[in-house]
């Protein structure tokens, strides 16, 4: 078994952290030259959508929005790309089995539906006062 490659980041819950996360992901993808581009695209898209969702919603009630942190871990194996995101913001009130696309000309509201269709697995849970997201995109090399 080759060593799975991992990325661990601790980020401020601000929009600019999405840029930081994507820079780190680009460096991780460089370490996996045989990664299928379609899998990488779908996984990164879903991860960015969930990150954006956390930044926008989990901390919207905070009076000092820049002190909150979120944790991101990405693991690459021969079988799958797995992402774990967690934050201590407000609980997300959502039903992932019932996310749908908005009207054609809506300017927002597509993120979760897109993340859900891009991934093979997307789970959300709340425990120990933290929101936890699990993202998984299977590789189809075998």
């Amino acid at each position: 078994m080759p060593d799975p490659r991992e990325l661990d980041l601790d980020l401020a819950a601000v929009p600019e952290s999405v840029d930081a996360a994507q820079e780190a992901l680009a460096a991780l993808w460089d370490q996996v030259p045989d990664l299928e581009s379609g899998v990488q695209l779908r996984f990164e898209l879903a991860l960015v959508e969930i990150l954006a969702n956390i930044v926008e919603h989990a901390y919207e009630a905070d009076t000092e929005p820049h002190v909150r942190r979120l944790a991101m871990r990405v693991t690459v194996s021969d079988e799958a790309l797995v992402g774990e995101l967690s934050d201590n913001g407000q609980p997300a009130s959502l039903d992932l089995s019932d996310v749908s696309l908005p009207d054609d000309l809506a300017e927002s509201g597509r993120g979760l539906a897109m993340a859900s269709s891009a991934l093979d697995r997307l789970d959300y849970s709340r425990d120990d006062g933290r929101n936890r997201w699990h993202l998984e995109c299977r590789r189809r090399t075998t």
Partner: protein
């Protein structure tokens, strides 16, 4: 901050070309640029996505906002030269029906 070029062409067409990742940070910039182009009197807009390495729902939202602004001003917005990352998003959201990407910037208003 990503770089967004704006080029005014003959025929009253404005070409807006984002370079790099169109995520929630860059989407705000793109939304402003598209608003300024239309406010400046250029209502036929082409967003050239040939240098856009990544697009998310907020970037897509900025393009849709630009489309609506251009149409309200009597014009239109078309997208051209989508990269695989852009095509992925358009397909996942079924927006390829609405935004119908064109192969070239020059031919974006041919049909």
């Amino acid at each position: 901050m990503i770089e967004i070029d704006v080029e005014k062409r003959t025929g009253g067409i404005g070409v807006v070309r984002p370079h790099g990742r169109l995520n929630m940070v860059a989407a705000r910039q793109l939304r402003e640029v598209l608003g300024e182009v239309v406010a400046g009197g250029v209502t036929r807009v082409v967003v050239d996505l040939g240098e856009t390495s990544f697009l998310d729902s907020s970037g897509l939202g900025a393009i849709i906002a630009g489309l609506k602004t251009a149409r309200q001003a009597g014009g239109d917005l078309r997208i051209a030269r989508p990269t695989p990352a852009v095509v992925t998003v358009l397909e996942l959201t079924n927006m390829d029906r609405v935004l119908r990407p064109r192969d070239t910037v020059d031919g974006a208003y041919d049909a």
